[in-house]
């Protein structure tokens, strides 16, 4: 009885922790078995050339308040949100287009390095693609601190700091995943998206909406277009030998 109150407090403490804990767990990504890509004569390859257009009026871009970091206020050259990169012709930029289905075999990772630049407290590019196994290099070109925080679903999450200007950080992805979001938790407005695919047949539309995917083996494909606010669209397309297949995506802003 002498320590009744103490026991009560201890019990409450233990119960609280126990009740707050539990669950969790993570899914291990599975590695699909791959077969070698069938050899094909590049001279027989076809191409895809297309446009992504926006129907309707996009929301007004908002001005980002960067005053939580004086360096960003000083360094920033672009302080407007870029959810909708719309050209004068109604083209929609920052759309990731890739071959979703129809490819056979595997394709070796490109040996070139993809650069994600942190400059003026923004990510450049905002949307981009990369192959599984290809090196991504994240560069800090700002005289302030950034953290690079990727939040994939199928790949491993990572979060690393770059406190000094000029620092670089290399990373590869193990599994195809469209899209992997990137963010900086220091500067909440900084975000980017990378489409990780296991082949080189992808593109990102420019502000005029134009894109092209070249040197594609002839065949029937499902092409997907992804936009960060407007979701995805798919189209079936036939690429004939030595020809360029046209394709057009139209997203609606309403």
């Amino acid at each position: 009885m002498q320590h009744r109150s103490l026991c009560a407090f201890t019990a409450v403490l233990v119960l609280a922790i126990a009740s707050a804990c539990g669950g969790g767990g993570s899914d291990a990504p599975s590695e699909p078995a791959e077969s070698a890509a069938p050899a094909f004569d590049p001279s027989t390859a076809g191409n895809i050339a297309g446009t992504v257009m926006l129907e309707g009026e996009p929301p007004e871009a908002e001005t980002i308040r960067m005053n939580s970091d004086p360096v960003c206020v000083k360094e920033a050259t672009n302080t407007e949100t870029d959810y909708y990169a719309v050209g004068d012709n109604g083209g929609l930029g920052n759309v990731f287009i890739y071959v979703k289905e129809g490819l056979q075999g595997s394709f070796p990772a490109d040996s070139s390095t993809v650069i994600l630049d942190q400059n003026g407290c923004r990510y450049t590019p905002h949307v981009f693609g990369i192959q599984v196994g290809q090196t991504l290099q994240v560069v800090n070109n700002d005289p302030t601190l950034h953290n690079i925080h990727a939040t994939p679903t199928n790949n491993a999450e990572f979060n690393t700091g770059q406190p000094i200007e000029g620092m670089t950080f290399d990373r590869t992805f193990d599994t195809a995943e469209v899209m992997v979001p990137f963010k900086c938790d220091v500067h909440g407005w900084m975000n980017a998206f990378v489409g990780v695919v296991d082949h080189p047949f992808f593109s990102v539309s420019g502000r005029d909406g134009a894109f092209d995917i070249s040197t594609l083996p002839p065949g029937n494909y499902v092409i997907e277009a992804w936009h960060e606010e407007l979701g995805t669209q798919t189209q079936e397309i036939t690429v004939a030998e030595g020809e360029t297949a046209p394709v057009s995506f139209v997203f609606s802003a309403s």
Partner: protein
């Protein structure tokens, strides 16, 4: 008022500030703005340049600095209690509080290193409120009123009040845990309107996020009923007992503030200051309910009469101990 009691008051304020800072971290999405732990961007925590505390780092690193201060203050608390507190169970409570703050620090580190896993983040939040309540409870136990005044009062023999006094803080705490789960699963706006849910009393569509959100609303209704029942009972039947009347009135006031900020959190789209105010008000509400419970169940604790006797000798306890004489 003794130095120990004043020190605990200081620790209580620091703990409330720490919960506020933690709330700001979550509300601004800054939990991973400093990716390493226990260092900050490779710096020893206290050597991190103040000029680099920008953006989310301001909230996350600020939270770490305040947490370290609270940790140091808690070590000081245990030293003080060991030297100056005559009641063994109070000294032991000090050790429990120190253990809680250590576990809390580890949970904070783990949640950063593992990218904010929900069970760890919710545990971190849950233990924070418990820690604050334990410190406030210790403040009650070391208060002059607890040690001198209440002993002269008739023990409470009101069974209804005794039960309400236990139920209320327990339910408030579970409500806090649901709220923490809602915050850390991003379900705060799963139901975007208030007081209705999608224009109805009960949501027509359900998901995990909607369920958590709706559970928090139901919890709020239950807490409201309990608080009004307990406070009403105190005011109706124990008006003369000032030590019960004051926390009862405060409890009602805090509840109204809490409901207001809960509603405003939804209607403002989780504006971070409003959201954080809702968090800290919840913590103070819990602590107030616990204070009332402790005063209602004052006679559970050993023992104020003995403590009175000890109190006059407490200042010379250390020399006696040092001289080899056991007190």
């Amino acid at each position: 008022m003794g130095f120990v009691h004043r020190y605990i008051q200081l620790l209580s304020v620091a703990s409330a500030l720490l919960i506020t800072a933690g709330g700001l971290v979550t509300s601004t999405g800054s939990g991973l703005a400093v990716p390493d732990w226990p260092n900050s961007y490779g710096y020893f925590m206290f050597a991190f340049p103040f000029s680099s505390m920008v953006g989310g780092i301001f909230y996350e690193h600020g939270h770490r600095l305040i947490a370290s201060t609270v940790g140091i203050l808690t070590i000081g608390l245990v030293v003080l209690l060991t030297r100056q507190e005559s009641r063994r169970w109070v000294r032991q409570l000090g050790w429990i509080i120190l253990a809680a703050v250590i576990v809390q620090g580890l949970l904070g580190g783990i949640t950063v290193l593992f990218f904010l896993p929900t069970p760890i983040s919710v545990s971190h939040a849950g233990l924070a409120h418990l820690f604050f309540s334990l410190v406030v409870s210790l403040g009650v136990f070391t208060s002059p009123g607890w040690r001198t005044s209440y002993v002269r009062l008739t023990p409470i023999n009101d069974q209804i009040l005794k039960r309400l006094a236990i139920c209320t803080p327990v339910i408030i705490y579970f409500q806090i845990l649901i709220g923490a789960t809602m915050r850390h699963t991003g379900a705060g706006l799963a139901i975007p309107d208030f007081p209705l849910a999608f224009g109805q009393l009960i949501p027509s569509t359900w998901s995990t996020a909607i369920s958590i959100n709706f559970a928090h609303r139901i919890g709020a209704a239950i807490v409201t009923m309990l608080v009004f029942a307990e406070a009403g009972h105190v005011l109706a039947h124990h008006w003369a007992r000032r030590e019960l009347r004051r926390p009862a009135v405060l409890l009602v006031g805090l509840l109204l503030v809490q409901i207001f900020f809960g509603a405003w959190t939804v209607l403002s789209g989780k504006q971070f200051i409003v959201n954080t105010t809702h968090v800290i008000t919840g913590s103070v509400l819990l602590a107030t309910a616990i204070v009332l419970a402790l005063r209602v169940h004052h006679n559970w604790f050993p023992n104020t009469t003995t403590n009175l006797k000890h109190a006059q000798y407490s200042s010379i306890r250390l020399p006696l101990k040092n001289s080899g004489i056991q007190s």
